[in-house]
């Protein structure tokens, strides 16, 4: 028995040693090998590309785009990694934390605003102002939110708007025959009253996730404050302009009308049939304030998996005597950034993604609202195409303010706005929350 015991011990020890050795060896080669994106002598280079179109036609399309680029540029390999959106954000954050060029993708999605600014300040992002000058010229209407100190660090490829997605059938049922594409707030309150008296819950809001609720406040800011006032306030961290308080008062005015679904404080934004999007998609509420993604989300939440036919869209209402330009809208988009350690081919690839051809295909598949003017006419979905003229109507598109202000200040602001929805904070508290978070930054 002892003999076998010893034998077993020896085997165990041997196995452990070899495991340890293997682990060490693995680590060593991993460290030395890098991400395999070194530029070889023959000009060969590998571009790693992270995107979030990880299902269906979108994924296939992007794979094709990468393959076409490889064919047109011999020696360049594009390594495509399609990830679920939240996974991608987590992985990106981890890659940035490592600070290791081998782990940071060469071309990745940026949401602009304060997040991009923080990345730029950490020296992680490549300045594209000169390297991609032609492309920037083409999409110059949208690069403002991706500019830090007059340098462009990302190429926006899709820019959408937030507005009201509504159920045409329920509106008709409530006797609302004419829905204005850009209603005044009186007209909007009229819709609410009619829907309520018809026994229909007017709107859903995913205040459990906070940002969908916060969008109301952001839009009120866009309506009540001139664009430049907001820009100055953000730059100087001074939100004392009374328009920010008015935005909160307008929000309270809306909340007093109790337009929202029961339990909206705990309602999630998009997950499941009882989420805010789910309630709209299944005909339980008449409208929801949401971005250009809503048809896609709603389609995923219906029984047959189809985008509901009843979806219509109108812009956020305007207020009488508002100081903001009525043509200004609030929205956000996605852009391609190139990391600081990326090979030059990565810039070419990012530019290729903004080319007329790629953007047109992007629009035809309804993957977003393209920024390249050559492609804006190709948006296949009619309801979605409705957003393009509103977006390109001459006003500024303010970025979602939480993205604009960066995570730290943005989340503090969203928390405060959620408290307003819960009736536990007022207009001044939102402004205070932003200011104190901005100061602590």
């Amino acid at each position: 028995m002892t003999r076998t015991m010893r034998g077993a011990t020896a085997v165990a020890i041997g196995a452990t040693v070899s495991l340890l050795a293997a682990a060490c060896a693995g680590q060593g080669s991993g460290g030395q090998g890098g991400g395999g994106e070194t530029t070889g002598a023959g000009g060969d280079s590998t571009v790693t590309w992270w995107h979030n179109s990880n299902t269906g036609e979108g994924k296939e399309y992007y794979d094709q785009v990468a393959a076409d680029f490889e064919a047109a540029n011999p020696g360049v390999t594009v390594q495509v990694e399609a990830m679920q959106h939240e996974d991608m954000l987590t992985k990106l954050q981890a890659a940035f934390q490592s600070g290791d060029d081998a782990q940071i993708p060469d071309v990745y999605m940026s949401r602009g605003g304060g997040e991009l600014k923080a990345e730029v300040e950490a020296g992680l992002v490549r300045d594209l102002t000169d390297d991609a000058a032609d492309t920037i010229e083409t999409i110059s209407a949208f690069t403002g939110q991706y500019t830090v100190d007059d340098k462009v660090y990302a190429l926006p490829y899709s820019m959408g708007l937030v507005g009201f997605w509504y159920n045409k059938d329920l509106f008709e049922q409530a006797g609302i025959t004419e829905v204005s594409p850009n209603p005044t707030v009186e007209e909007f309150y009229g819709y609410l009253d009619k829907l309520k008296s018809a026994g229909i819950t007017p709107a859903s809001v995913g205040a459990g996730d906070k940002w969908p609720a916060a969008h109301y406040w952001y839009y009120n800011v866009v309506r009540e404050c001139p664009f430049d006032t907001v820009e100055t306030a953000i730059a100087e961290k001074d939100y004392s302009d009374p328009c920010f308080i008015e935005a909160g008062e307008k929000l309270q005015e809306l909340l007093d009308k109790e337009p929202f679904n029961a339990g909206f404080l705990a309602t999630p934004a998009q997950s499941g049939p009882t989420s805010a999007s789910g309630l709209l998609a299944t005909g339980k509420v008449a409208m929801e304030l949401a971005g250009h993604w809503e048809p896609g989300v709603a389609g995923g939440l219906t029984e047959d998996g189809q985008v509901p036919d009843f979806l219509g869209w109108f812009a956020y209402p305007t207020f009488p005597g508002q100081a903001g330009d009525p043509a200004d809208q609030m929205g956000g988009g996605d852009a391609w950034s190139v990391s600081a350690g990326a090979p030059d081919a990565a810039v070419d690839f990012a530019e290729h993604l903004l080319s007329d051809e790629v953007q047109t295909g992007f629009a035809e598949l309804d993957m977003g609202l393209p920024t390249n003017p050559a492609a804006t006419g190709s948006v296949a979905n009619e309801v979605l195409a409705q957003l393009v003229p509103v977006r390109d109507g001459g006003g500024n598109t303010q970025l979602y303010l939480d993205t604009r202000l960066g995570q730290s200040v943005g989340q503090a602001m969203n928390d405060a706005i959620a408290l307003v929805f819960a009736g536990e904070a007022g207009p001044q508290d939102v402004v205070d929350a932003i200011e104190s978070a901005a100061e602590a930054e």
Binding site: G99, G263, A266, S408, A418, A422
Partner: protein
């Protein structure tokens, strides 16, 4: 994090001391057998030590890497302002601690944690004890009932959370539908959406989830109570109620105290269920220290503040664990020191 560190502290006087001795004896007994064969009589001690060192080293290394190092990193982060990338350069001293401790959301979180600690014990102790005493009687369907009581504990916390989240949906959820059918109405904002109700809803779900563990532990403790005592009591004419009150519950003391300790630590670091059910909302009515630090860290990228909050959580858990150890669990350990002979004879009897 706190769990990994504090539980060994709690367990050490009771278990880890006697164990190495016992293990050593067993080893020695084994190695004594081949000695007469005279193969290697020179250094069995040294060899044994090397063997132990060899087998302990990997575990120790993993412990250092995944427990001690993260704790030290959290402490280090807590004195810096750090947004998640770039080097740690912005040293702020104790400012993060001040900002956490003066933050109403954090102090509310601490209060919520303490409410959950007290409520868990106050609800689950009597309820669990009653069920355990009932299930300890010989009856039909005993095994089935025990299984049913224990099933919620076996379910993954996240799965249970998602299911409860759906059940508790306002208007369209199962609970509200049933209530509406009998003419009752839940809170207008729903069970999870009303700031006054949400924390209690979470406590009910936690009770459902963890009652099974209490019952199983109490039942296990009950198996250790000698049948002889019951027989003696019966001969003396004690009623069932008297037997429970004078014999069962006092002898169950060590089990109850250990369970309460585990429950307390679990409540202090509560995260998953709250995160799934409410995410800390509505209006911060259900935040716990753990949701606060995750929110600050991964959502707001204030890693310094999150680090400070995690250190505070660690200290709170450690202090409470040590206090519990000192004032309450000491009874059990003292019995081992002072009345060792009595304890031994008792153990002998139960075996």
């Amino acid at each position: 994090m706190a769990d990994d560190v504090t539980t060994p502290v709690a367990a050490s006087p009771a278990t880890s001391h006697p164990q190495p001795v016992a293990a050593g004896r067993a080893l020695r007994a084994r190695s004594a057998v081949p000695a007469p064969g005279g193969r290697r009589t020179a250094g069995p001690q040294l060899r044994k030590r090397l063997e132990i060192a060899f087998f302990v080293t990997p575990a120790l290394a993993i412990f250092l890497l995944f427990v001690i190092w993260p704790i030290l990193t959290a402490v280090q982060l807590s004195v810096y302002r750090w947004k998640g990338f770039g080097p740690l350069v912005d040293f702020v001293g104790l400012r993060n601690y001040v900002s956490v401790l003066t933050n109403d959301v954090f102090t509310d979180s601490l209060v919520h944690n303490l409410v959950i600690v007290v409520a868990s014990i106050a609800i689950q102790l009597p309820l669990g004890l009653a069920i355990a005493l009932l299930l300890n009687r010989k009856m039909w369907g005993q095994g089935l009932l025990r299984t049913i009581i224990f099933v919620p504990y076996v379910l993954a916390e996240v799965i249970a959370g998602v299911v409860w989240f759906q059940l508790l949906q306002p208007q369209y959820g199962v609970l509200d539908t049933i209530m509406a059918a009998v003419g009752l109405q839940g809170p207008a904002q729903g069970w999870l959406g009303d700031p006054d109700v949400a924390l209690w809803t979470v406590i009910v779900v936690l009770t459902w989830k963890y009652l099974g563990l209490a019952v199983i532990l109490f039942l296990a403790g009950l198996q250790g109570v000698s049948e002889d005592l019951y027989e003696a009591a019966q001969l003396d004419g004690a009623t069932w109620w008297q037997v429970q009150r004078k014999i069962t519950i006092p002898l169950l003391g060590p089990t109850l105290r250990t369970w309460a300790f585990l429950s307390m630590i679990g409540s202090l670091q509560l995260f998953d269920m709250v995160w799934i059910l409410t995410g800390g909302g509505p209006a911060n009515a259900t935040t716990t220290m753990a949701t606060f630090l995750i929110n600050e860290g991964t959502r707001r990228q204030n890693f310094g503040i999150a680090g400070a909050a995690s250190v505070i959580l660690f200290v709170v858990a450690l202090v409470m664990a040590l206090a519990y150890q000192h004032f309450i669990l000491r009874r059990d350990t003292q019995a081992d020191d002072g009345g060792r002979r009595a304890a031994r004879s008792r153990k002998g009897a139960t075996r």
